[in-house]
Symmetry: C2
Subunit: 386 residues, 2 copies
């Protein structure tokens, strides 16, 4: 049935593990399989290689290796930071389900984005309470690709911290970001982002699934979600994922080295695709923030059409795109992100999320444009939209 | 420095991923990398293969696939079942740190084993309270290799359940076991074990690290430790570890198929090793339950000697053994298991845990025996023990 070659345009949902990453991991599955907590030299070498991998990751973030906690993906990382704090949590209504669900276990305020999916720092300031302990805003939204002005939000939080200092209020205020969609595309240096804690996911950057991390500055007191043998400084027990962490380090460092060139390449490909679709369908709605947008993201809506029908028609031609985030079990419900930015239902229901990546070249973009134009035209005629 | 060929006798700490397991995983890292929650056919095939792997695991346990929750290892699995319940928890003082630490977050009673590390069902009965909700006892102890009579404990619990039924007390009473050390050695069929919940770990059975599972019968109400996208029936959010689960299924099913022959092979090798060491050192102390012992475990103590010195001397000869569990960050402290069975400190401090496995053959056992005999003789002479 699936005879067409695959044109994969859903890198935001999952990325293939790069061959050099598989090659880096493999020795730690087979020959160097030792438990890094064992006391003999071959295990100590494994421990050393594990710590070296953490140091490589730390260098990309500009942090200390012992401030990293390796987790089984971004969701656990997000849960770890949010369940570690006691107090009011501020986040936005367009965050990943993991942030929304973990924040819902606290007193919380969900700030609303603007129509582009941007979070106004002023709206964060308004949501702050004297007992607010954590603000969590993703560096880039995982449906729209809108990049947030974390530095401006950080300044707003610094003003509140200064108020608390003067008022002798001891309540800390931490700033966390999920940067999972941004590795290999944006600068992840935490001091330039202005955050106190950061989540990353190897599975979005050509590393293995179920590998992620939480960085938290040493003044953020973490509380373990999982207790036991005391690994990861007691914050996250369980035998370490040596192969996964080494694969993550390789994937992240290589992606970061090529970040500027790859971002520029994807930016140009994305703009080509967008231009072709805009030309063919002037009535289509492009969402996100045109001035602050992930270079590999294109969110486009065809009002009056059914995105699922488009998706399946495209799939028969080998073109794989998304209607929204893959990270939700409740399929068939309307995206909470599109609802939050005030998109009318008839627009939201005709929305495609197209995300480019390493598998995307000019031929892929040309092919995708041809197929999308053909499918949208056919669907438009079918429903009498044209 | 490490020029001798390695004789690995610490399979209880970690096992190499079998080559056929790596081969089974690899396609799901690279070509079949799709997010199993994505809606297009290639992702649906990945979802199908993931579910098939869970069904293969379920068949080994004799359970329904949708009663399995895949986790990042045994520690998370143990935390998931213990944090899911509200009430008094009964476990033993020789359990894995993950059980002890998670139980410590509840009201709890730690029952004491006998000198062989066996848990008397009567001691469990005595520890039960009207508000006891969970009993957790490992199928085999991870330091001594003592196999517990779970069926007898299950009968004791059934008597308490019957009492509660008659008294119209609604408090449930669940029985959980960590069987991580037993895959590929013992029958894991849960109805024959008599448990309501079971933990397994791929990393102990020639599968990948950081892959585990919790089976819980459908009448056990689990509470998520990690919230988010709602994967694993809402119990454990996060993009599924497709490659890891497929590797786990392959490792477990193959190990279970060869279980009887492999257990017999290891039993004979272990007995050969034990006989040689007993002959050379009649004063050595063999621990565990000789009638109910994992076939690959040998726990031997050399009173008056320092196990760490033995371990490092053996390491220079390429023989890798353990002094205790690798799963604890606090090295250099005396094993809580040996303390609990009442072993005097001067015996405990001279203890080696030797665990055989796929990497062990007759030549390895002969070599290990030669080396251990030589090292123990030298150390004994050094300290004037002989």
């Amino acid at each position: 049935m699936q005879s067409a070659p695959i044109t994969y345009l859903d890198h935001a949902a999952a990325t293939p593990v790069a061959n050099f990453v598989v090659a880096a991991m493999q020795p730690y599955l087979t020959d160097q399989f030792y438990n890094p907590s064992s006391p003999y030299a071959p295990a100590i070498r494994v421990r050393h290689d594990y710590e070296t991998a953490k140091a490589e990751i730390a260098a990309v973030l500009g942090v200390k290796p012992d401030e990293l906690v390796m987790t089984a993906g971004a969701t656990e990382s997000i849960n770890l930071i949010i369940t570690s704090v006691s107090g009011h949590v501020v986040t936005s209504s367009i965050e990943h389900q993991a942030v929304l669900a973990a924040a819902a276990t606290h007193e919380h305020t969900f700030v609303q984005p603007d129509a582009n999916g941007s979070i106004n720092p002023e709206s964060i300031t308004q949501a702050l309470r004297p007992d607010t302990v954590l603000v969590s805003i993703a560096l880039a939204n995982n449906e729209l690709g809108t990049i947030q002005s974390l530095k401006d939000i950080a300044m707003a939080l610094e003003a509140e911290r200064e108020r608390r200092r003067i008022a002798h209020e001891p309540m800390p205020l931490y700033f966390h970001t999920d940067a999972s969609q941004c590795a290999g595309l944006l600068d992840l240096h935490v001091s330039r982002l202005g955050v106190d804690a950061l989540t990353l996911n190897a599975g979005k950057v050509y590393g293995p699934k179920q590998v992620g991390l939480l960085w938290a500055a040493n003044y953020v007191r973490l509380q373990p979600v999982v207790v036991g043998g005391g690994q990861e400084r007691g914050i996250r027990s369980g035998t370490e994922n040596v192969a996964g962490t080494i694969g993550f380090a390789k994937a992240l460092t290589v992606a970061d080295q090529h970040r500027k060139a790859e971002a520029a390449r994807l930016h140009q490909l994305r703009d080509t695709l967008r231009a072709r679709l805009e030309q063919a369908f002037p009535w289509a709605v492009i969402s996100g923030n045109p001035k602050k947008q992930l270079p590999n993201f294109l969110h486009i809506s065809f009002p009056g059409l059914d995105a699922e029908r488009l998706l399946f028609a495209l799939e028969t031609m080998g073109v794989l795109v998304a209607t929204g985030s893959a990270c939700a079990a409740n399929k068939g419900t309307r995206s909470h992100v599109l609802t939050a930015i005030g998109m009318p239902p008839e627009v939201a229901d005709g929305s495609l999320r197209i995300s480019l990546g390493k598998l995307t070249d000019q031929a892929a973009v040309d092919r995708a444009a041809d197929c999308i134009i053909s499918v949208v035209r056919a669907e438009s005629q079918r429903v009498g939209n044209l």
